[in-house]
């Protein structure tokens, strides 16, 4: 009989061994699929690694992919740590993009020193405000924030589609004939393009730098502030928080807004670093908000680990783009990416639980424990 039981103590070495083992497991499983579909596994992995991280310009492209993932990962981390389930980073990111692009258009003639900070601020505020809606509903009416924040993603998705495709809004380009027939957003002025930092031939986008600052701030917030202490108590036991006189309702709204602000900043970065236009289709296809939940889960809600995981997943999706071609269908790329995530998340189980094999009706000898090995 195989039983899964909870570990009584957290095993430190597993925190390293399990992710590594999960990755190995993913490589083995994917290789089976690659062989079955007539592809060379070794070559495929090499290409993925090459295009994702190693070849010229790969790292810069990966960083662009990683930036929104980093910020939505932080958004999920901020909320999940307090056991508040903000699933709405997707919509909050759209709203951040709406705010940042709107401000970017409005201040188009201003210098970068004015436009860029304004875009950052707009992203933060729009995301925070959108997330505060489910937060306030939770605090006042005790609605389930998982459902309300998730539903608001669809509302936000329809909103940005409306702004560009279904209306003559401020965001839509209407000055040329083609743009009136084929709707698209207004491009921002060059002053609104965010700068990047060049280090050793790699361009680090401004948004990614902001994300690293955000990660450090979040870490500090939870570790050594009164606000973070209250959030930790609420996350562990709402009853204990109430007992200790913590204003749990205010904290829920505040933490949701904080979470939304990170996601909104992710949207602003996507506009400032990369798209320079409000692009409903591109934003919705990327689904960075949902990706952020995966990032946060893999990073075990550690803000610094979020940076690394965002880079890894960013590289994976960036490398995935370049794998696609006539001989390599997009579905197969998705399968490989899915397998890696699947193994990583399944491995998480082994950090907290162990598997014991019990021989049925054996004598009084205690069954040997099977060493926990990732699948």
């Amino acid at each position: 009989m195989i039983r899964i039981e909870r570990r009584l103590t957290d095993a430190g070495w597993l925190l390293v061994a399990v992710p590594v083992g999960s990755l190995v497991g993913a490589v083995i499983l994917s290789s089976v699929i690659l062989l079955a579909t007539g592809h060379d596994p070794l070559g495929t992995w090499q290409r993925l690694l090459d295009r994702g991280f190693l070849s010229e310009g790969a790292m810069s492209a990966t960083l662009v992919q990683a930036t929104p993932l980093l910020l939505t990962g932080l958004a999920a981390t901020a909320a999940f740590r307090m056991q508040t389930w903000n699933i709405g980073a997707e919509g909050q990111l759209y709203l951040g993009a709406v705010g940042a692009s709107g401000v970017g258009i409005a201040l188009g003639s201003q210098p970068a020193i004015v436009v860029i900070p304004a875009m950052v601020l707009a992203g933060l505020l729009f995301g925070a405000a959108w997330a505060a809606i489910p937060g306030a509903l939770r605090a006042v009416f005790r609605t389930n924030e998982i459902i309300t924040s998730l539903m608001l993603n669809y509302v936000a998705g329809l909103l940005i589609t409306y702004l560009i495709f279904d209306s003559h809004s401020y965001w839509r380009e209407l000055s040329t004939f083609t743009s009136r027939v084929f709707p698209q957003g207004k491009y921002l002025s060059p002053a609104a393009a965010w700068p990047s930092l060049q280090i050793a031939g790699i361009a680090i986008p401004f948004g990614f730098l902001l994300g690293m600052v955000a990660a450090a701030s979040l870490w500090l917030l939870y570790r050594s502030t009164r606000f973070g202490f209250e959030a930790r108590v609420i996350g562990d036991s709402r009853a204990a928080a109430h007992y200790a006189g913590i204003r749990t309702r205010r904290m829920i709204v505040a933490v949701m807004a904080l979470s939304g602000a990170f996601a909104g900043l992710g949207g602003a970065a996507e506009i400032g670093d990369f798209r320079h236009v409000l692009d409903p289709r591109g934003l919705q296809q990327a689904s960075f908000g949902y990706g952020g939940i995966v990032v946060a889960a893999l990073a075990r809600l550690n803000p610094f680990a979020v940076i690394l995981v965002a880079l890894l997943l960013g590289g994976l999706s960036n490398g995935g783009f370049s794998l696609q071609g006539a001989d390599f269908p997009a579905g197969l790329v998705g399968t490989l990416q899915g397998l890696i995530l699947f193994c990583a998340l399944a491995g998480e189980l082994l950090v907290r639980y162990r598997i014991r094999v019990q021989r049925p009706r054996s004598s009084s000898v205690r069954p040997p424990e099977v060493a926990a090995r990732p699948a």
């Binding site: 039981e5 009584l8 050594s224 502030t225 009164r226 606000f227 973070g228 202490f229 930790r232 108590v233 562990d236 036991s237 009853a239 204990a240 928080a241 109430h242 007992y243 200790a244 006189g245 913590i246 204003r247 009084s364 205690r366």
Partner: protein, 499 residues
Amino acid sequence: MRGITKRFPGVVANEQVDFEAMQGEIHALLGENGAGKSTLSNILTGLYRPDEGEILVNGKPVTFHSPRDAIAAGIGMVHQHFRLAASFTVAENLVLGHRDAADRGFLLEPGMIEGRVTELARRYRMPVDPGARVWQLSVGEQQRVEILKALYRGARILILDEPTSLLTPQESENLFETLRLMGAEGRTVIFISHKLEEVMAVSSRVTVLRRGRVVGSVLTAGTNPRDLARMMVGRDVVFTQKKEGPAQAEREVILQLRGASALGDLGTVALRDVDLSVHAGEIVGVAGVAGNGQRELAEVITGMRRLTAGTVVVGGKPMRVGDPLAAIRRGVSHVPEDRMGTGVAPSLSIADNLVLKAYRRAPISTQGFLHAGRIRTNAIDLIRRFNITAPGPQTPTRLLSGGNVQKVLLARELSSRPRILVAASPTRGLDVAATDSVRALLLEAAAGGVGILLISEDLDEILALADRIAVIYRGHIMGVVERQNASVEDLGLMMAGAA
């Protein structure tokens, strides 16, 4: 039972336990919490399988694969927390999951079942209406249904786990009467308890467990509470008792409830027009059967529950009700009934839990930032002063034993220099040594001028500590008596609602 051993990951719950009960005897299984009593009874009723050892019923070895096998062997169990379907009738509960001659295929025959129930109830003097739905019954009646259920299924051996914990003294006496009848009839009763008095009163033989092992098995007639306590704990025990203190009348009234009413969690009236006062340095005990508004009373005073009428006056000034922070700021400390989960945040460290209320103020925090060093020194200091046994200040609180969790709680609540301490069942589930140190801390706090409201279902504890005793019944204070004028009989009657 011979040589029973049961291990759980990290602990040995029973080690080489030999246990023997004769036909027709009432055999008490005595031991502190965690001594292995429940594990042993779970093995006997087929819920667990022993790692080693064997069970013999009437001299024949048996193996139980499930509780069904144990029931078939004539072993019945009455759990501490009843396992009844609340919306079913008494008769329906009795036949639930049970197949016998009264059961013709799909169809039940209520008349026949009810007839048999009534007859059983009469024989054992446990009056209960077989047609009543379980939710309508009192706790004492529900327990009778549990016992009847076991008897209905033909139990020759009946195990009762802490059966008196929810009963009034009178109800307990009735239960003992029933048990004696069953013994006289040749049934065997195994009575699990950690209360010495009731073991002395009801049993004919006692087996004492300590840390999973049998310490000894003695005839009740040949022993006394002192010897049993020594066997149970492994050393002499003298419970801390309140000394006759100075008269409290001239001391300041520090807490007063005036006409306080409140609703319970289900929206029903839980507190009705409660008037109660506590003087500085006084311990007022609130006695009552569980579920009569004790929790709501504690929550109203500590701001965790709103009042629907009345006021709470602290130190002469009315307090903002329904606001725990206001109560904390007015010097109202609280040791809640649910210590793990409400009283402490289980996964946070001991150090964090020790500043669960003080984190707002200097020196623990300034300008919104916490000072890790001061949190740590505070923890080291309190761990030493309150004799908390813990690997270190960063240990998650959930890993501590119940007694040490309670010490963490008391250390935090008393080190804030409160004016009032509301302590709800502060020693429930603690072993003898921890109980004693908790009681000593309460007495010390009272001697230092703290007014204490001690809410407890353990009448002995209230009699040992309180200066005055208030009895609560269905959310109303039935009366307040001085300790020296209190008798268990009178208190018991008040607890049952007879003023």
